[in-house]
Each structure stands twice: as C-alpha cells, then as structure tokens.
Amino acid sequence: MKIDRKVLLVDDEVEFTVTLAKILSRREITVGTASNCAEALAQMESESGPFTVIIMDVSMPEVNGIQCLALIKREWLCSEVIILTGHASVNTGIEGMKEGAFDYCLKPINTSELLDKIELAFEKVLVNQEQSTQS
C-alpha cells in the first residue's frame, strides 16, 4: 500500500513556506502552500488536495493554527497535522495535541527534525490506512 507524499505548508511568513517547499520538493514530496486558514481549507478541497500531512504555524491572523487544526481534523481525519510554535506559550504544544495534532516543532525550526517528523506522520497515515483496510 502506498500513500500520497503530499504536504501542505500553512504559514503567513511567505519566505518560510517558499524555503521549506524547496527542501521538501527535493525529497520527492508534492508541496502546496497557504498563508492563512481559509486558503488552507480551500487547498484541501481543491484538485491538488487533500494533503496527507499539513505543517501549520500556530500564529496566523484571524483563525489561528490551533483553530484551523480543529477544522481540518473535523473534515479530514486521515490527514496528520504538525504544528509550528514560535512565541506561543509552552502549553500551546499540548493544546495542539489535544486538538489532534500529530506532533509539534518549535520555530525557528530544525529542518532535519521537521523532516523526520514528516516521515513519521506519513508512516502513521500509512498504518492507519492499512488498519482500516483490514477492518
């Protein structure tokens, strides 16, 4: 069984998403980008969606990352979300986990750590798919 190696980057810092998108593309990952929650939801519903893994900044205008995470998990339970926290409180990580985040990374990010977490998230989606097929 295979999964779509598709990652959606959601962050209002365009420079960050562009840089990370280049890194991910080199690892044979299809990358989509969004700069806010509304764009992220639209991307998930678009032809290029849904994305298997979503990397989402917590600090975003209007709808923040935790709220957006809840909206995504409500519609796309199979997708895994990794949240990025910068200046948020130490409890933001746990808030994200409670809303169903797969994991978190601190900003400024450690690229290799984030890449590992993305691979683990892919692995989890694959396992979940296998389980649901078996049942």
């Binding site: 600090s59 910068g86 978190y104 590992d116 683990l120």
Partner: protein, 853 residues
C-alpha cells in the same frame, strides 16, 4: 510466526478475545506495540530535554529564555504523549494521570508565562523626592543618585525622573508589547545578524510611536519646574536608569544610551530614543548572556540639568585589578566624563592613597591621543580637588557598603558633582588566576608590545582579528583576539566570543573594561598603533596583568585554570529555571513495588515518565502475571560457555521467521534483533574470570551490606531479577540484568530514523560499602565517557545515554555495555585501592579495544 500468534492470543486475549482470528490478533498486537515504541521515543525525548535543562542549570554556560521555553515544551508535550500512549495501550486504565499532568503543567505554565505585576506610580518624579526606596519606580541609577543627593556634603545635578510606569504607559498606549515579544522570543543570541535586525526593528517601533499627550504634558511641566531652579532654556542630560541595572554582578555598564545637551524641544523624541535603547543589540545580547528577559528590565529616564564641566572623570574606590591595595583609582579627563567611559577621550590616571591627606601615589597618562589628537595636561586637578574626590569615593563606599564606581565632574564654580555611583566590578580573590608563570625568555621571544594598560587581568592567546565596523563584528570568530582602535561599548556583544581584547586607546574606567572584567576576558588598552602593528601578525598572546603582547601562542607558559564566570548566577532566567525544575526532575516514584507507585503520587513530570514507562512495559509484557509470561512468552537462550540464565521475549520480528519455538529454547543464530546481537557480542566477547579475591575486611563489608540491604540479596527475587530478560524486536532491545549484587538495565532503539535512535544504560547497587560502590561507578563512568556517552552519576547509581548517531556507532556502544555488564561483576569489593581501579581500567580498555577491532 505461529508461536508468536499463539503467545499473543494467550497472553492478551485468553479470556475475552479468543474469537479473534490470528491475523486480527497480530494487527491488534502490532498497534499496541506501535504505542509502546512511540511511548519509548517520547520518554527518551522528554528525559533528554530534562537533562538539557539540568545541565544548563548546573553548568556555567549561558542559556536563553528561548532555550528554557523550547526544552520545557519538549518535556510537557512528550509527557503528554506518554500518558496518551499508555492509556491507548491499557484501554484507558490510567486516565487519572491526565488530571495530574494538567495540574503540573498549569504550575509550569504559571512560572514560564508569569506576567510582571502592573507597575503603578507617578509618571514623573522630581529627583529630590527620590531615594533608595524609589528603586522600583525610578531604577537603580536614579534611586542611587537621589540617595546621594540626601547625603550631607554631596552634590548631584538637579532634575527629575520619567519613571517606569511612564515607559510602561508609552508601550501600552501604542500596543507595542505583543509585537516586541513576537520578534524577541524565537531570537537566537548566537545569530548576530538576526539580533541586529530585530534590535533595529524594535527601536524603530518605539521611536516611531506616539508619546501620549498627558505624559508629554507631565514631562514639560517638570522641565518648567527645573528651569525655575536653574535657568531658562537649560539643556539637559537624559540618562537611562533601568530596573535591574547596577545590581551587584550585573553592571549593564554602557548598555543603554545617555544623551547630553538635549534642547527642550527635543525632550519627547530623545526620551523615546532612551527608552528604545533598551533594545540596542548590545543591550539585548548582554541581557541574554546574563539571564535577563525583556520583561525583567524596564527603562526609566533621568532628566538632569547639564553641568558646565571643567574637568571630569571616574573614580574607583578600590583598584579593580588589585582590590586589596590601599589606593583609589582616579581617571581624569578635560570636559565631560563621557570621554572616559566610552574610551575615546585622552585621560590620565591617578592612584591616590585612601589614607588622608590622600596623596597621589602614581600618575600616568593612559592614552596618548584621543579622537582629536589632543594632549592632556597632567595638572587638571589641584591636590585639594584630588583629596575631595577621594573622600567622596570613600564616603559613598561606606554609605553603600561596597566599593563604588563613580562618575564625577567639577563645574565652573569648582564644585564636585556626582553624576553616578554603582557597585564596582572586580575580580574576586582566587578568581582569574590564569597567568604566564615564567616570563618567556626575553632574548628569544621579546614582547611585541609593552606598557599597555591592564583593563582586565588574565592571559589568553588567539588569532588576531581587527574590528572596525559592525560588519566585522558579524564575522568575528570564536576564540580570536579582538583588536580595536577605541574600546567602545558597541564591541561588548562579541566579548563572550573573544579570547582577549587589545585597544589602542582607553583606560580601566571605560564601560568596555568594566564588561571585560565582568566576563573575565583579559584586556589591554592604551596600546598605540595596535591595529597597524598587529596587522601582519597571525596569532598573539596577551598577558594583561603585565600589559604585554607576545607574538605567537605561548600556551605552554600559561598556568592556572581559566575561571569561567557564572554570568547567570542569581539572574531572573536562572531563578525561573530553578523554580521550574521543582515540577520537572525530582523523582519520587522510584520503586515499582511500593504501594505509593500510583498515579496519585506523581508530583513531577519525571514521576509521570517513570510511571508510564514502568506500566507500559507491564502492559506490553504482562510481567505481573509471571506464570503466563513463562509459559507463553519467554524463550531460553542456549549458548555455549555462558553460564548465566538468559531469556528472550520477542515482541515483534526479533526472531528469525520459521524457527521452531515449541521447545522454548533458542540460539543466537536465530536472533535477528540488531541491538540484541550487538549487546551479545559484548557479553560473550571475553569469558568472565570470576570475582576478584578480596581481603577479609572487604568480604566482611559485603556480609554487612547484605544484612543491611536485603534488596541487594540476589536471593530476594522480584519480577525482573530472577532471570535476565531480553525484550526484543528487530530494532529494539531492553535487557534487565542482575549480575551478582548489581542491577543493570540496557535499552536501545536503533530506529531507521536517526532522531529516534538511542542507547541508554542504568547501573545501580553492589555489595560493597558506599565508597567502593561509588568507586566502581566512577570507573564505569570514566570508560563510558571515553566512548561519547553522556553520564549522570549520583552516588552508586549511574545513567549513561547516547542518541541520534549512526547505527554502526551505536552497535559498537552496545558491545561496550554488554562487555561492562558482565565484567564489572563484584569488582566493587576491591574498589578501595587505586591500584585495583587502575588495573581494572587498563584491562577493560584493552579488551574493549580488542573487541572493537
């Protein structure tokens, strides 16, 4: 595989789930194993983050609030994951842990996110109403100045203070705090370019903000009052006075702006610039290095009538380099004192006796030429004025109870006016003892430069690196010698990277000299043409105490330890971390068989990790039900020449497929678990040669310990101690082993993902007395340190970890642990003699090297 399925079926589902097919059982088991593996990874990450925090607290390394926040988040999130995984594995049996974790996390959050109380008080206060009790409103510098004004015989400039509640109001009214926090929190102090960028951005925010109209009115009203007691249109000096500044140990010398000769129409804008100077790059870096957060420092501004200075300077009531001597050190400059403290002026130095009539002991020009190339006359002060300055310094030292660093000026009417007084920074006796023991042979290696002013004692060597601009600073390599024209406070951000400092101008009274002493960086100032002379020299040795510079690195001549200062001692960030650790690292749940080993007794995050780990193992392998474990799970390892009782529990893919397990016996050839195979290589590499021969006293000690510590008696069985169990999967291995009187646990996960890989080792106990047991632990610790393990040793227990390395590297470490587990048996009995320790150490190291070859 049939055997495994059968085991899974009987162990996990013998009572309720027997209707499940073997495939379903396997799927359920694999899901459980995934949670177990994820729990171990989370445990590893949480413990690693805790260890990082503990190390930061114990070492003298500086660390930032961003570091504390990042590691704390790593701990809390991973402990949360552990609780979730344990509940997934156990069908929610430990839900109570969730509430306990939430309570501990709330305590941690309250510490990390504590917001300082709202500071109330007047926005503007006349200086004559200020004293030491006003420090929380006006900052240390102005509180001291107000206090000095009240000492009979002391004069200070007239003026007023724009208080901390005013700067709070300015930031609040313009809603600047959230944006400042957003910019500051992810900032890495090692990334100078980013620090400069953020510094400029925040200063722009503040200087571009709007001064609230009511605050502006109050400032100008106070200024009008000042005009009445001085003269109309009086120009003023705006001096920073930060809260937390000038406390003993952290001087903040020269970190913030002072603006002289400010015309009244620029009062408002200059005030904002001084407030913004809290965020100069050098101030931000200084705060980060010394453990202060943005919120720990608030800016007050003293607005003082300008003094018509004729001569000014700085007086140290003690010699900062030789505090036990009997003289004061007076730096003298024509005009305003700022030229002394920023290192650009031409000054001369007087050593003045502390005893009346305060005669000059020595006089020297510390700087031949300043910016203007002016020559300084050496008779700027009369003997009477020198005595008056010295007396004032001694009065202030006595008044404040500590040696003082005082800025003074003498006006056109001949009055001595004190501009500032703060505790002096000097090397404590016994510190900074590093020096050149034997002077290098002058005939073969004469000093390249001599006669420099010792601004901060010590000796150091490194490559020469001239700095002329901020761009040069960005490229400054760690360990180089900073060579500059003027010792400006602007260079302070790279002091912690510099081995030593050489400046063409400056004196010991400058701000950079103060900070160099604080950071214990050797510094020589007043070295004419240093930039030119050193331009073609690759490396130099700076002997600051003697004021000499030698070509090349004379490391072999340096004696004494370089004393690294604990720059963060007592700082707000260090105190915060100390408070935080109370909720994190103490381990109260140590004995799984104790009646208190329950969720309700978890008081710290470490307790929760310990509990989750223990219960996860129990959930996974059902150790509580030993009969079933024996009957269904454990397989005896049968190997030649290994006498101990070894058993294997395969949790997934650790045994070659197709092996017949019906006889409950297995050979190593059938084991495919990578970590177990590596461990076994170490265990079986050399035969154990039996216990060491001991004297009667050593044997008596063992008997005594056995009676005192029944838990050490191998005959007292626990679930884990009767046999030695390997719990394995293809890339995981946990070995709990009790060899003789000691207990060892080795756990390794050689994941395909590097970030998940680890090898952990716990060793505890022994039969001998505490001293000998500790001796064995030290021996093991020494050996493991050589092989890159991170060691935590407490008494007779030791933990060693190594993570995120290549699989081959970790396999070699497992071999070493396997070897040590067997060969350190009972040697604690002879660990009272150094020759025995050396003998065993040599033997172990030799055999380990042979094994690894």
């Amino acid at each position: 595989m049939t055997g495994i399925i059968q085991w899974i079926k009987e162990v996990f589902f013998s009572r309720h789930d027997s209707a499940l097919s073997p495939e379903e059982l396997q799927a359920v088991f694999r899901a459980r194993y995934r949670h177990f593996r994820a729990l171990l990874t989370a445990n590893n990450t949480a413990l690693q983050a805790m260890a990082d925090l503990e190390l930061a607290l114990q070492s003298k390394q500086t660390f930032s609030m961003a570091f504390v926040r990042a590691r704390t988040t790593a701990v809390t999130v991973n402990v949360y994951k552990m609780v979730n995984h344990l509940n997934e594995m156990s069908g929610g049996r430990y839900r109570k842990l969730e509430n306990i974790l939430a309570r501990i996390n709330a305590d941690i959050d309250a510490i990390v996110e504590a917001v300082p109380p709202v500071r109330s008080g007047e926005h503007v206060v006349p200086l004559h109403q200020v004293d030491r009790n006003s420090v929380d409103l006006v900052g240390n510098k102005m509180a001291n100045l107000g206090e000095i004004a009240n000492i009979p015989g002391m004069e200070t400039p007239q003026g007023f203070v724009i208080t901390v509640s005013a700067s709070d109001y300015l930031l609040e009214a313009n809603n600047l705090n959230p944006e400042i926090l957003r910019l500051l929190q992810p900032l890495d102090p090692e990334n100078l370019a980013a620090v400069y960028e953020v510094s400029a951005a925040i200063q722009r925010l503040i200087t571009g903000s709007t001064l609230p109209a009511d605050l502006e009115r109050k400032i100008y009203s106070a200024y009008a009052d000042l005009e009445k007691t001085t003269r109309a249109g009086v120009t003023v000096a705006l001096r920073s006075s930060a809260l937390g500044e000038d406390t003993t140990g952290a001087t903040f010398a020269g970190q913030y702006h002072t603006e002289l000769n400010v015309d009244p129409e620029f009062l408002g804008q200059t005030y904002k610039e001084i407030v913004a100077s809290k965020f100069t790059s050098r101030a931000m870096l200084y705060r980060m290095k010394r453990g202060y957060r943005h919120r720990d420092v608030a800016m007050c501004v003293g607005c003082l009538a300008m003094v018509d200075s004729v001569v000014s300077g700085v007086v140290y009531s003690r010699d900062p380099e030789r505090p036990d001597t009997s003289w004061c050190v007076v730096s003298v400059v024509k005009g305003q004192a700022v030229k002394v403290v920023d290192g650009t002026g031409t000054s001369y130095l007087l050593l003045v006796s502390r005893q009346p009539p305060h005669e000059v002991i020595q006089q020297e020009v510390t700087q031949q030429t300043g910016n203007s190339g002016e020559q300084v006359p050496l008779d700027l002060l009369t003997p009477r004025q020198i005595a008056t300055i010295t007396e004032a310094a001694l009065v202030l030292e006595k008044y404040f109870g500590i040696a003082q660093d005082i800025e003074w000026t003498i006006d056109t009417r001949g009055r001595l006016i004190i501009l500032q007084s703060r505790p002096m920074v000097y090397a404590e006796k016994g510190e900074g003892e590093c020096h050149l023991q034997d002077e290098p042979d002058d005939s073969s290696a004469p000093p390249l430069l001599t006669g420099a002013v010792s601004a901060s004692a010590g000796v150091a060597c490194g490559p020469v690196f001239p700095v002329r601009s901020a761009l040069d600073m960005l490229q400054f390599p760690k360990g180089a010698v900073l060579v500059v024209q003027h010792p400006l406070p602007e260079w302070a951000p790279i002091l912690n990277r510099a081995a030593a400092v050489v400046a063409e101008t400056g004196s010991i009274a400058g701000h950079l000299a103060t900070v160099a002493r604080e950071f214990k960086v050797p510094a020589v100032f007043g070295v004419p043409d240093a930039l030119k002379t050193l331009s073609n020299v690759e490396s130099i040795t700076v002997d600051a105490a003697r004021g000499r510079i030698y070509t090349g690195r004379l490391e072999e001549c340096i004696v004494g330890d370089v004393q690294q200062p604990d720059l963060m001692a007592g700082s707000p960030v260090k105190r915060l971390l100390q408070n935080l650790m109370e909720f994190m690292t103490p381990l109260n749940l140590t004995d799984p068989h104790s009646p208190y080993f329950k969720p309700g007794y978890c008081e710290t995050l470490h307790d929760i990790t310990r509990f989750c780990h223990e219960k996860a193992v129990a959930e996974m392998f059902k150790f509580g039900d030993r009969d079933r474990l024996h009957r269904h799970a454990a397989i005896r390892l049968v190997e030649k020449n290994v006498s101990l009782d070894w058993w294997v529990v395969d949790v997934a893919d650790g045994i070659r497929e197709g092996v017949d397990l019906s006889y409950k016996m297995i050979h190593m050839n059938d084991i495919v678990s990578t970590p177990m195979r590596a461990l076994w290589e170490g265990i079986s590499a050399f035969p154990w040669q039996g216990p060491p021969s001991v004297c009667a006293r050593g044997f008596g000690a063992i008997l005594f310990q056995s009676t005192m510590q029944p838990g050490l008696d191998p005959a007292v069985g626990t679930a884990l101690t009767e046999k030695n169990y390997f719990l394995i999967s293809k890339n995981f291995c946990n070995l709990s082993v009790r060899l003789g009187y000691h207990f060892a646990m080795i756990e390794a996960y050689l994941s395909d993902l590097r970030t998940e890989r680890y090898v952990a080792f716990t060793f505890k106990g022994g039969a001998a007395d505490a001293k000998r047991r500790a001796g064995r632990i030290t021996l093991i610790s020494d050996i493991l340190s050589r092989y890159d393990f991170r060691i935590d040793q407490k008494g007779d227990s030791l933990t060693a970890r190594i993570e995120k390395r290549s699989i081959g590297f970790l396999q070699e470490r497992l071999k070493i642990l396997g070897y040590l587990s067997v060969h350190t048996r009972q040697i604690d009995m002879v660990m009272n003699k150094q020759e025995s320790v050396d003998l065993y150490k040599n033997k172990f190291l030799t055999e380990i090297e042979q094994m690894l070859d």
